[in-house]
Amino acid sequence: MPDLGIDVLFKGTNMLRLLGGLWVAARISLISIVISMPLGILVGALMTMKNKIVRAICRIYLEIIRIMPQLVLLFIVYFGTTRAMGWNLSGEVASVIVFTLWGTAEMADLVRGALISIPKHQYESAEALGLTKVQTYIYIIIPQTVRRLIPLSINLITRMIKTTSLVLMIGVVEMLKVAQQIIEANRMTSPNAAFGVFLVVFLLYFLVCWPISMLAKYLEKKWR
């Protein structure tokens, strides 16, 4: 069994640095999630409105964001807008902008799906029982929507965390970049470190995302 270089991570502060990189990625996704959830709910609600113009605008926004690979969006914001508008954007801010736009679109689609999945007779029965519009939403529609929505939005969070690995490509020093630095720095003493270090990165991503998607699966089963 050749030396696979996992021991490199236990030298000095290497493991801490790697976890610091993970925190950078997690911070970007956390901020984006916190902003995009309420925005997504708003846009999703707008998409179920009867006004055709509002719906069309939301639809166009949704389709444009969803058809482009996230990496292309990152490039457009990081390289494109900085050149066109002449401002200075750090990689982290650019990623937060992109992931917020993307998260809002995805969340809006989930909200829309959950809202239209409530059968019409729910609204009609509520009205027949004499509930006002506000009461209908508070007691009938929102509780049902939320139950369908929560597992799906938790899944969106794991997708967001996984996608933040892309920010490496616009120069943000996150876990993969730190891993590369560690491997480069120990090239002489531990030439096989690439295997061990990337394996650890792989496992760390798994350890972060797996419990979250398990929770989503559990809630989905429980609330069905």
């Binding site: 050749p2 696979l4 490039f75 050149r83 996608t163 690995s165």
Partner: protein
């Protein structure tokens, strides 16, 4: 916008787009194969293999493609497995896509109520006929939306191949930005080429979904 620049570097993008599509399609084809195999194993509840598939699905779905590619491209040579970037791309896409495809197919197969199978058998069909004429057509129409979504998702994921030095669209765009500082033009071409690849797939997918929605059984 400098159209001369665009005209000059169009062939470069064309070559990159062909490469992106080629690796994307081969990767997706393998992903479908892996997905079918995994779905079959889970559907027929093959012992041992079933547990392995379950672990594989969880690992593949909970890690980013970029990390998988880095591990395959930079990590594997250290244990003596040397692969070209193209092969790495295909393997990565198949590894990631396999689990997504497996889930799509499995959910289709599992959505068919046991009563369908029982009725078919009581009508005198054998197992092959039951599967071919009763289970499969219904399962396909249930899986199609997820399948189409996966194909688009995987085509979009090919954008990370530039990280393992494949000369794909992203790589070309980044190269041109770095070399000539023609950011607007390079990004414009990048978006146009991704639209050329992804829009037809998206539209075809929508049409296909409509076409197979004839089976409104149950509701």
């Amino acid at each position: 916008m400098n159209w001369e620049f665009i005209g000059k570097y169009l062939p470069l993008y064309e070559r990159a787009a062909v490469l992106t599509v080629k690796i994307g399609l081969i990767g997706i084809a393998f992903a479908i194969l892996v997905g079918l195999l995994c779905a079959a194993i889970q559907y027929y509840k093959v012992p041992v293999a079933r547990q392995i598939v379950a672990v594989y699905v969880e690992i593949s779905r909970n890690t980013p493609l970029l990390v998988q590619l880095f591990f395959i491209y930079y990590g594997f040579p250290k244990i003596g497995i040397r692969l070209t970037p193209e092969v790495c791309g295909v393997i990565g896409l198949a590894f990631l896509g396999g689990s997504y495809m497996a889930e799509a197919f499995r959910s289709g197969l599992e959505s068919i109520e046991p009563i369908q199978k029982e009725s078919a058998i009581s009508l005198g069909m054998n197992h092959r006929q039951t599967f071919q004429y009763v289970i499969l057509p219904q399962a396909i129409s249930v899986s199609v939306p997820a399948f189409v979504a996966n194909v688009i998702f995987l085509l979009k994921e090919t954008s990370v191949f530039s990280a393992i030095s494949l000369m794909d669209l992203m790589f070309t765009a980044k190269d041109l930005i770095g070399l000539y500082y023609k950011t607007t033009e390079s990004l414009f071409l990048l978006v146009v080429f991704y639209l050329i690849i992804l829009l037809p797939v998206s539209i075809l997918g929508t049409l296909l979904e409509r076409r197979v929605r004839y089976a409104g059984f149950g509701d």
